[in-house]
Amino acid sequence: MSTMLKYQEKELKIVGTRPLRPDGVDKVTGRARFGADYNLPGQLIGKVLRSPHAHARIKAIDTSAARVLPGVKAVVTRDDFAEMPDEYAAVGEMMINFRDVTRNMMAREKALYDGHPVAAVAATSESVAREALALIKVEYEVLPHVIDVVEAMQPGAPLLHEDQYTLGVKPKPDHPSNVAKRLEFGRGDVVAGFKEADLIVEREFNTKPVHQGYIEPQACLASYSEDGQAELWTSTQGHFVFRAQCAKVLQMDVSKIRVTPTEIGGGFGGKNNIYNEALAIALSRKSHRPVKMVMTREEVFRATGPTSGANVKVRIGCTRDGKITAAEAELNFQAGAFPGSPVAQASMCAFTRYDLANVRVVGNDVTVNRPKVAAYRAPGAPIAVFGVESVIDEMAKKLGIDPIEFRLKNAAREGTQTYYGPKLGPIGYVQTLEQARAHPHYSAPLGPNQGRGIATGFWFNIGNETTCSLNLQEDGSLTLVLGTVDVAGGSRAAMAMMVAEELGIDYESVSAIVGDTSTLGFNFLTAGSRSTFASGMACVIASRQVIEKLRQRAAKIREVPLEAVAWKDGHARPAGGDVAQFAPMSLAEIAKMAGKTGGAIAGHAEINAQGAGPGFGVHIVDVEVDRQTGSISILRYTVVQDVGKAIHPAYVEGQLQGGAVQGIGWALNEEYVYGDDGVLQNPGFLDYRVPVASDVPFIDTVIVEVPNPNHPYGVRGCGEVPIIAPMAAIANAVENAIGLRLCEQPLSPPRVLKAIDDAAAAKG
């Protein structure tokens, strides 16, 4: 069964205020412990040897010299890990192909990208470990490689997986292909729809892979003891998922591994999957010592997941008065070395802001010699939306219709049938568009070479498996143990706020912590903007259990019937009417007597939360283009987003601002640069250019609250939506500034300047 709790409108005392986060003081004093801050007595340092080739058969690995180097305590290679069959296996309720997981963590037959692990060592110091890596001899047969997604789709392209036949094509193809999967979504009749169109715009777009760019490199510490139990401390978005993955690839019982999530120094989807964790446990198992593994920044860029680069074709038709009659897209997504790009989500998000009768989206998931992609904030959606919102903008302009008006004419509303499945429930898209149009930013004057752009985004938001426990302590304070990692957004504060609101007590009385895997049942990742929605629902359930027990206890103590006891403002009070009167009891009074009146009071929830409410956002951006250098400055930026309910508005603003700036980086300068040899040329923050403080202005936010009917406080989730619109919004602003429609991102200066010069040359 799954769980939904309906929204109830009520007067709020704590939800919607801005209390201080419980992790704040630790984080400003340096006391907070992140992945690399954990140490154990006797620990070794683990390091990974990585392939210098983009594509190579591994003919032999000789570790003999490394093994005998003084200080080296263990070496592992592909031979230390079991082969996993090519089938999907459960990780909690997630299905994962462990054939790929085990190969990504340690290459087997072939190295499939520059940076692919081929061996790992554990030694008494980092310098000894590095020396040992240099002593490992790997015999490679270098193979032709393919980096570009369009090239990889061509017949005759170098094949990463000789046994990979495109799924989703009937009949089964004769030849293997880098296209792992073909997907198609649609409804209606696009051919007929395009026939009705007065205006058709068709464009092709290309984007580069970008990295999540979390500032904390992956770091973990593992300790395997001789009785077959393992402890793992790691920086993760989902310790239960990491535990499951480690157990499977190491062939251990799930219950034998205990994972403690450290403070996580950013993830954004990049810390959803294991990299070094199983290697660290394996090295610890072999060396009988704890093993600590911390990635360098270079390793993070070379071997952990960026998101896909892609080739996107969009075609949209509409009538003269701006009603869309048909929409079509082809999305070709780089998956990296193993299948699994976010092309399905991208396909579903591409047009789901519009009420469309005729839609068709084809998606291809394409393996290339790059690191396997990982999720990145609204996975895939920004890429598809860049194309779609660029075309939408062009159509509005061609028809002389205001871009927000054009979107309103076609906007999805409650009851709109999506092309991927359900009808939309109550949503706030129209409200965000209207608020954007009314915002002073939208009508502010612009100077020469300046332009304004808008674009919109949609994300599903999700629920899924979630647990928590709420323990009333003997003094009336409460400890809330959460199973979803607080990945930065302040979910510990938000959860404690909901508990305090339910119980009618102070926020400060609730201490929220994240429990390790042994304290609670399975939790899905903190991903998909689910934490405040799903974990919040679990917290409300646990709170209501506690309230129920408090009422029962009060009824017994005061010797009145249960129905005579109401819970209000943190007290058991007479329910009123004809039933019994009694002296109210505070939470603390009941807590003090709990031990002697039946034992401690606690609530807990183990749910599969459903009913996530989709989120929509509109971004407005002003840019200025330097026509002589192609440089783009972001002058002003406004985010308008429906979040359902902002439990803690400051932390919601933080999500909107942070997501928008990540999107700005994606649009302007971030990209993976590979040489002809398939080797990554910019594995560092110097040449992988995330925005710095002086690159961006203040990011204004407008929070729209259209409650999600399936959450007790109306929460939708807010983390993903803000990264979706920036790429398109900026491209649209640049078009308005210089009259050029740029379809390749990033909009780096050489690319922009070339477009300006080419256009000038074409004019003569």
């Binding site: 069964m1 799954s2 939904m4 089938e87 999907y88 309720e93 997630m94 299905m95 989703g168 094509v169 009937k170 073909r182 997907l183 198609e184 979504f185 649609g186 409804r187 999540q212 993830g267 954004f268 989807g269 990049g270 959803n272 399905a344 989500q345 579903m348 999720a375 990145y376 904030r377 609204a378 996975p379 991927y420 499945g421 359900p422 009808k423 429930g425 994300w459 599903f460 938001n461 999700i462 629920g463 899924n464 498996e465 990742l525 991903a527 998909g528 903007s529 689910r530 599969n608 459903q610 009913g611 996530a612 399936n710 983390g719 993903e720």
Partner: protein, 81 residues
């Protein structure tokens, strides 16, 4: 009988059939019935499908009831960053 609609991306595994009616009581029974009728679909059902029952999306909810007059749409499962 519940009306079942498959996402068009599943057409290759069902000989093009995208709409059908099945008498099933919950999601697990639905997946079983579909798997029996279309063996090639089985891997996809397991690997990551969610269902929308009367407009509400359910993920990983095998025991979610399906009424005899429900509209059920099979969709791709959604994760996130």
């Amino acid at each position: 009988m519940a009306r079942i609609t498959l996402s068009s991306s599943l057409a290759p595994f069902t000989d093009g059939v995208l709409d059908l009616e099945l008498e099933v009581g919950n999601v697990r029974q639905l997946f079983q019935a579909l798997g029996e009728r279309y063996p090639e679909l089985r891997a996809h059902l397991e690997a990551g499908l969610a269902v929308a029952i009367d407009g509400e999306i359910y993920q990983d909810a095998l025991l979610q009831p399906i009424a005899h007059d429900s509209d059920v749409i099979l969709i791709t499962k959604i994760a996130g960053g």
